[in-house]
Amino acid sequence: MSQIISSPHTLFSNSVSRMMLLVVLGLIPGFIAYVYFFGWGVIINSIVCVTTALLCEAGIMRLRQRPAWPYLTDFSALVTALLLALALPPILPWWVAMLATMFAIILAKHLYGGLGYNPFNPAMVGYAMLLIAFPKYMTAWLPARHEQLSLSLLDNLRYNILGMLPANTSYDALTQATPLDKLHIQLGLRKTVSQTVTSFHQFSGLFGVGWDWVSLMFLVGGLFLIYKRVIGWHIPLAMLGSLAVISTIAWLVNSAHYPNPLFHLFGGASMLGAFFIATDPVTASTTPRGRLIYGAGIGIITYVIRTWGGYPDGVAFGVLLMNLAAPTIDQYTQPRVFGHDQGKSS
């Protein structure tokens, strides 16, 4: 087919590399905030994930006997690696981060055919695998900056690479649960929301110290992506909207047991998920109405898992479950084609 030159005869106005690089650009504010509040571990994780991802991508392309360079420079592996790194706890053995990345790139992406063919979001597959296989590591975050402890670059490196903790401290003393996790545990112990929030220091600040700024910065980066038309508004709006609506209703019904909606929107991975993860075009729904349903589904599942499920956060499972539903959603949300079924609105 390549011999016939077919119209249009113009230059292309966009490219996959450009879109992926803009996503990376959009991640920068959140990345900086994350590093600022949670330290060097974020950078170490990013380096481990990115290196592993690019090596895996190149290796697999070689195995598949295809040129590696165009696929390395589409930057999709880079984006997957960064998203995964931003979902990981900053204090984490290097091999755990590497394992998750290999799982994401090799199994979730290339075993299904590589770029464009994977049904599940690779970063979230890698993350979910760790959550199930290494729950201990995955729920232990460092406390945000300006609290009792903070690790130097050397200390952080020493732990992440060699597994050695600084002197006079233990793993449990060093780490703490995220606000979402803490609340989840405390509510499970029949404490009220206000009791929990007032008695634990990670709830100072707006919606958890550090997490509020990180989420705000992801929001800023996400709005930038919408402005640059890299992503549409449908999925983030539907996901955050449904999360806001359900959490507001629950909060109004019983504010002792259900935290306020802002806590849900700015706590955990809501913003990162809504703008950067759920919007992965390959695994999301592609029709406008389908994207609204898809986004809303993630919001609902996230809330359900956070509130009644066994995991502190539910974004990853929300995304994976809706990935599963995306082809069916697309099938039933086809837009009305020009000149068909007039009178029906769409």
């Binding site: 087919m1 030159i5 119209s7 249009p8 292309f12 966009n14 879109m19 000149g339």
Partner: protein, 520 residues
Amino acid sequence: MRKLWHFHGGLKLEGHKAVSMRDPIIPVPIPQLLTIPLQQHIGEPAQPVVKVGERVLTGQVIAQAEGYISAPVHASSSGTVIAIEKRPIAHPSNIHDDCIVIETDGKDEWVPSHEIDQDFIQMEPSELRNRVRDAGIVGLGGAGFPSFIKLNPGKQQVETLILNGAECEPYISCDAMLMQERPREIIDGLLIMRHALHAKQCLIGIEDNKPEAIRALQGALSEQEKSIIEVVTVPTRYPGGGEKQLIKTLTGIEVPSNGLPVHVGVVCHNVGTAVAITRAIHHGEPLISRIVTVTGNAVTHPRNVEARIGTPMQVLLEQAGLDQHKLDRLLMGGPMMGFVVEDMGVPIIKTTNCLLGMTKQDVAHEVHPMPCIRCGECAKVCPAKLLPQQLYWYARSKELDKIENYHLFDCIECGCCNLVCPSHIPLVQYYRYAKTEIWAKDREKQKANLARERHEFHQLRLERKKQEDDARKRKKKEMLEKAAAKDDDKQAAIRAAMERVNAKKTAQQQAASTNKDESA
């Protein structure tokens, strides 16, 4: 201000029109050889009515329309017919097709003109249609559908008659120049169409990047005409000049998927067609020339010219100063929907609106398509509201049933999806391929059905023949048996005689053999 509607998708494209609009339209000198294809329109090709060696005059019919959907072809200048044969023509597949070749005599001697004895207002619509048909007029916007058919509304009431002056495709400016230079002829043509169609309202739709054309047409309207004709400025957005898109923008009506505009009370003609109709009805001139934009970065003096149908493209390109070194790709039509012309010797036809000489920098070379990432940018810009990413998926996997369910045949091949695709997938090419496959399959199916019917009929005939034969045999046998029963006595007598003869024979043979033994 008239209320305008919005069609889905589309793109804001760089116009590139000003470069070819600096100078007025000039005629192209009549070339030595005119190659006039018999098929320049949608429908059946015309049938030649002249012979090789015959002298023809300008405007003389050289091939007659064949069937209803067809159009006659006229000699574009006077001269001698030197060949009627297959010649290379402008076609997406660079094929050869039947052409009448005229060696011009330079006199450009016209056939005696029909006397225009009558004002068109006194003519019956059918008379107008016949004259439009006899003048060989087809849609000059690019599709080439015989225009007289679109002047025949049948029993439909035509609410709105639209003249399409949108000219949405980049680089092309022939309609814009025509509107600037000959607004009166456009309006006259519109009035003739209005009379033929009994249309209630008349609109001329022009994109807002052509203010001069809008001013010229508005200035040419008389006070009385202003009450029935409205010049409407529409936003510049490709493919806003597509018939269905323009109708939607101006009236809010969507032409049904399998229907024609007239089914919803709308008829839409191109402004160039209007001028051709004016020339035919007011001056008795058939369609023998058209305005062509010769432009592109490989052309030194881009401009609009009026060329006789059948003039080799080379003549136009040389006139406009084509730079052979810069030329990378020559197109007939615009960059979005035009096709590549390999041979510059092929002639201009009725639907040639633009010759576009593109340089290396204008064209995407060495395209390495990446996998589709389902970003949906294509669906966002699709004016038919299709899901191009799904169509691509099914075209690739050759799931032809699925692709039809996703309404492949509503695709107008405008190229918007292709342009915005971040994976650089040649989407339109895939859709053309799938359409051709489906058409081929339908033809195969028809053939197979025919073959099966023939086979079944053949089987039936054999069966019947066998039955008839059996019946005949049975009858014969019965008759023979009856006859045999009658002849039984006779038969017995014969048998007895035969036996006697045989007995005699054996006795003689035995005697003979003993004799032989003895003599030996």
